[in-house]
Symmetry: C2
Subunit: 384 residues, 2 copies
Amino acid sequence: MLNFVFKNQTEILFGKGQMREITSRLPEAAKVLLLYGGGSIKNNGVYDQAMSALTGVEVVEFGGVEPNPTYETLMQAVATAKQNDVNFILAVGGGSVIDGAKFVAAAFNFDGEPWDILVKGASFSNPLPIGAVLTLPATGSESNGNSVVTKKATSQKRAFSSPTVQPQFAVLDPEYTYSLPPRQVSNGVVDAFVHVIEQYLTYPVNAPLQDRFAEGILQTLISEGPKALSEPNNYDVRANVMWSATMALNGLIGQGVPQDWSTHMIGHELTALYNLDHAQTLAIVLPAVMYVQRDKKAEKIKQLGERVFGITVADEAQQIDQTIKAVQDFFESMAVQTRLADYQLDEKAVQEVIANLEKNGMTALGEHGDIDLAKAKEILMLAL
Amino acid sequence: MLNFVFKNQTEILFGKGQMREITSRLPEAAKVLLLYGGGSIKNNGVYDQAMSALTGVEVVEFGGVEPNPTYETLMQAVATAKQNDVNFILAVGGGSVIDGAKFVAAAFNFDGEPWDILVKGASFSNPLPIGAVLTLPATGSESNGNSVVTKKATSQKRAFSSPTVQPQFAVLDPEYTYSLPPRQVSNGVVDAFVHVIEQYLTYPVNAPLQDRFAEGILQTLISEGPKALSEPNNYDVRANVMWSATMALNGLIGQGVPQDWSTHMIGHELTALYNLDHAQTLAIVLPAVMYVQRDKKAEKIKQLGERVFGITVADEAQQIDQTIKAVQDFFESMAVQTRLADYQLDEKAVQEVIANLEKNGMTALGEHGDIDLAKAKEILMLAL
């Protein structure tokens, strides 16, 4: 096992009705920026519950944060936050809104061009504190310090991470997910699944507990994910998906083990260029990464097949092939397609993604840093 | 799944050499009470490493905290802490030292008789902050707010719990466990195993992820525990046991599910009366609790048997019998005996334990509150 330092500071408020707990967790004389997305929270009752919980608290609204939140929109939110001198951000939405809140929090007291936080790793101080009300289980953003922001003008999708912008609390009420469109449910399950894989599917370092935890999340997503589509109002199913997605990327399962985020890195370029859903890009890239890296990942792919999918074939190559196929089948069973052609993309897209990876310095991906541009191209060609 | 609120504030510093990280985590102008046990840390190098890390920091020592720490000894530590006006406690040891540190921290600014914190749930304020250096993986005390203290004068073993006395950081260096006597290794593994069982072996509430995490810890303890005895200097084995014991009782796996702490409650009386090792009492009581509660716990006992021990028998009664036997066999394989007679205790002890349970109000134990004195007696008689 590798050394690690780990703490997760987010207080999880899990279950129906937990919204009422948020007021006691706001700062004194709170002036809250209520950040949200396309407005679905106004139709499904979440907005009303938030405003009811915030009775007596000064609230400034900023809606319209888009999926794959853009720098352009978020800078407007920063302006609104400054104009109104807020001292807290309540992010109500999915990973995009919460990621956006982190950027707004960091940019609020930043001198200079905040884009530098994303591209130059510029340091910032005194970020606004954040609380999250999660409506879409997927990214884990509600209890980690990660944020991904896209600059529309240049099609650049970049990330930053800091414990100082991690939400202080997160309301996880499974009922808030009942009204999600099926496509978002599917995307969330696939995103969480791939987060786990990226902290698990590398090479063994004799960390059996981390393996078991990762496998436990995968098993739960496989059993509960399809039910979330077929039984949208089943509370326990929604709760299990929600808790799995949070545990998938709150830092715990990745402690002490190598990680491989190449699927996310390559996928980000597909979203930036063609506006594919984040999870769609992962479903396209991951099986191809597994295939191209099959030798280096052999031990863990076999373990995944056996423990999570119940595949036990004596022949190693077959065991690996069937496990990759099982992952692909799971994505397809969640109605997320797994080939570039399914999204009308061809070799031209491969060239463009490779050019973007090069431009963004993504030339040594994977747990061994050996996914260079040639290998990335091999991966994408396999995914055609 | 049941509602829950969860946060774990302890920063885990895991791995070899992490002691050097502690200095940056002390308060300014730190005056540290170094609390430890019987002195083994002076023989195995841990004391020297701590003192080396604390170079330049004012340190007051208090050694001699015993296994099952006593109120009498800890009140001496409180006096030392007050005389020297310390502002931080560094607990270096196992669960007993860390539990003791929590009581000292709580008693430090307490007006009145600190025993009331344990028997009357008296509230306290401004506890001293605590850091922990773990030398014995077992209780999980390094990252939870629980403390158990025994009053020698009256043979009372009582607990209190508060997030305000939870360690701010915990150093988990597997190398510190190399020199542990085998009996302490065995006890630690059994204690952690039973902690998991007590948050798992109740009745199903459709919380599959919690189940998988619990099973993952049990599987890891079963595979790594015996190796910790046979390969005492195997770093990864020690690391895996250490991380498992912390995860067993840092609060995570018990969120959203019913719990049954009857084994601990009954076991505490055996320790208070006859000074049995804490883990010995658990190894005696748990199999009998499983047997007596077999109908109410049937679903989970069968799941435990199948998933953790690989037992699959069509007949339900046999499946349950074999699973209880497997738990007992595991304890015995860790060289912890499972019958009262193994410790020269007989029916007289049963009567005395029942009398103590009655005196301490422990008359409605278990996840259903249905383990009354009659049932507790049935459990103990089965364990003769």
